[in-house]
């Protein structure tokens, strides 16, 4: 989960280092962890912060964004029996559209639906209020749908 979260926000080459630094920083910051609070989103927030810092300093896209932007038909994701209900073309289109989103939109969609975090966990992990998760997710989904429509109208460009 930590590595996937890093991949969502940090350049691919930096994701593992971001996780490693995040765990070490979390250990040093244990005194700020509130007893009884969920620890997973607290840790993921540190991972997200580390990942964002690395993305900004490297001035590069996140691993997920870069891979999505480079998607070619039918190679984005491996088909499984469960996903056979989605046409391969649709899966690739959806993944490619993720690559066209702004970072903040991709982060909230990624946290909620690709990593399957709850609204509360998403809010804590990406550092926004829970109400903002709802509104940002709604807007991000609308933009994702627009991106899919744009991509579907013409050839997919890397």
């Amino acid at each position: 989960m930590a590595l996937r979260t890093a991949y969502l926000v940090a350049p691919e080459a930096d994701a593992a280092d971001a996780v490693q630094d995040a765990f070490v920083k979390a250990y040093a910051a244990l005194s700020r962890f509130r007893d009884g609070e969920p620890i997973k989103p607290w840790l993921l927030r540190i991972v997200v912060n580390e990942g964002r810092n690395r993305r900004r300093s490297a001035d590069r896209r996140s691993g997920l964004a870069r891979r999505a932007a480079l998607v070619e038909p039918r190679d984005a994701v491996a088909a499984s029996p469960e996903s056979e209900v989605l046409a391969a073309e649709t899966r690739d289109l959806l993944f490619a559209a993720l690559g066209r989103l702004r970072d903040e939109d991709r982060e909230v969609i990624g946290a909620r639906y690709l990593l399957d975090l709850s609204e509360a966990e998403t809010a804590e992990a990406i550092g926004i209020r829970r109400g903002t998760v709802k509104s940002r997710t709604s807007r991000a989904l609308a933009r994702l749908r627009e991106a899919m429509t744009d991509l579907d109208r013409g050839p997919v460009h890397g």
Partner: protein, 292 residues
């Protein structure tokens, strides 16, 4: 042409599609570095080289652990212990494989994973009745199953196999949503488990995927086998003792604060069961399948 429903339909269709592709994305995995160290080992090495973090305002521990060299020689908070374990565990989980039962998620940690030494229990027999020193909750009379059911909030199941017979002690931990523990004392046909004085320990707790999940950190010396308990899939954990923690509803971390030896874990409906015994895999499964 792609599925138009995803373009024009409600968000539900789009969300479902995202959830379908989520597990299939080629997420990165942790490969050992050129130096041969994996992520978990690197994190552990860095943490072990650091001084213990201040526990500051954290809630005082309800009971003391016996610290080992390198760890703070004072009571440490539950949150700190849990967080340290989780840090190490989560680092390992970054490259770990996972398998799941309803209400249970078992993770296989990397070879370098081990719980902090401060969690080592004292290895002395329990004073009082069997299991009395294991902090399993409040003792309840084993002659009143109805009271046990009421406290647990679900129908507690008992082995019908003649070998164990009636348990010698029962406990309910209401802080863990009515977790029930049935304990049998050591005797000739029930050799001691990892817990001195305990020949058999059956733990039952309500849990499902929707209500929380349970994590088990398994060290390199623990073997995990998939088994069948009746028609249910279960896991037989044997070898070196392992440490158990889980997160309950809402992700609130709870821990069991003790090592566990050979154990069988399975789920049946909304209840998850763990049976600790020294009877071996087949003997333990036989007792598990006799639960009524």
């Amino acid at each position: 042409m792609a599925d138009r429903q995803l373009h024009q339909g409600p968000d539900a269709g789009l969300i479902e599609a995202l959830r379908l592709i989520g597990p299939e994305i080629a997420w990165p995995t942790v490969a050992p570095s050129a130096a041969g160290r994996d992520l978990a080992a690197a994190v552990r090495e860095r943490i072990e080289s650091m001084p213990p973090p201040a526990v500051g305002f954290l809630v005082p521990a309800r009971r003391r652990w016996l610290p080992s060299a390198g760890w703070p020689r004072r009571p440490v908070s539950r949150a700190l212990l849990i967080a340290v374990v989780l840090l190490i565990a989560l680092a390992a989980l970054a490259g770990a494989a996972g398998v799941g039962l309803p209400g249970l998620r078992v993770f296989f940690g990397g070879g370098s994973v081990s719980p902090p030494p401060s969690l080592e229990p004292s290895r002395s027999p329990s004073p009082g009745g069997p299991g009395a020193a294991l902090h399993l909750g409040d003792p309840v009379s084993v002659s009143d199953p109805a009271a046990l059911d009421a406290l647990a909030g679900f129908d507690v199941r008992w082995p019908s196999d003649p070998l164990p017979g009636r348990p010698d002690a029962a406990y309910v931990d209401e802080s863990k949503r009515g977790q029930v523990s049935l304990v049998w004392a050591v005797r000739g046909d029930l050799p001691a488990t990892f817990e001195p004085g305990v020949g058999l320990l059956l733990t039952e707790f309500a849990g499902s995927v929707d209500q929380g999940f349970f994590d088990k950190m398994v060290g390199s010396g623990t073997t995990v086998e998939t088994v069948l308990v009746g028609s249910r899939r279960g896991y037989w954990l044997s070898g070196e003792p392992h440490f158990l923690f889980y997160t309950g509803p809402g992700g609130v971390v709870q821990d069991e604060r003790r090592w566990v030896g050979d154990a069988l874990i399975w789920a049946d409906g909304p209840v998850t069961y763990r049976l600790e015994s020294a009877l071996g895999r087949s003997g333990t499964i036989r007792i598990a399948e006799s639960l009524r």
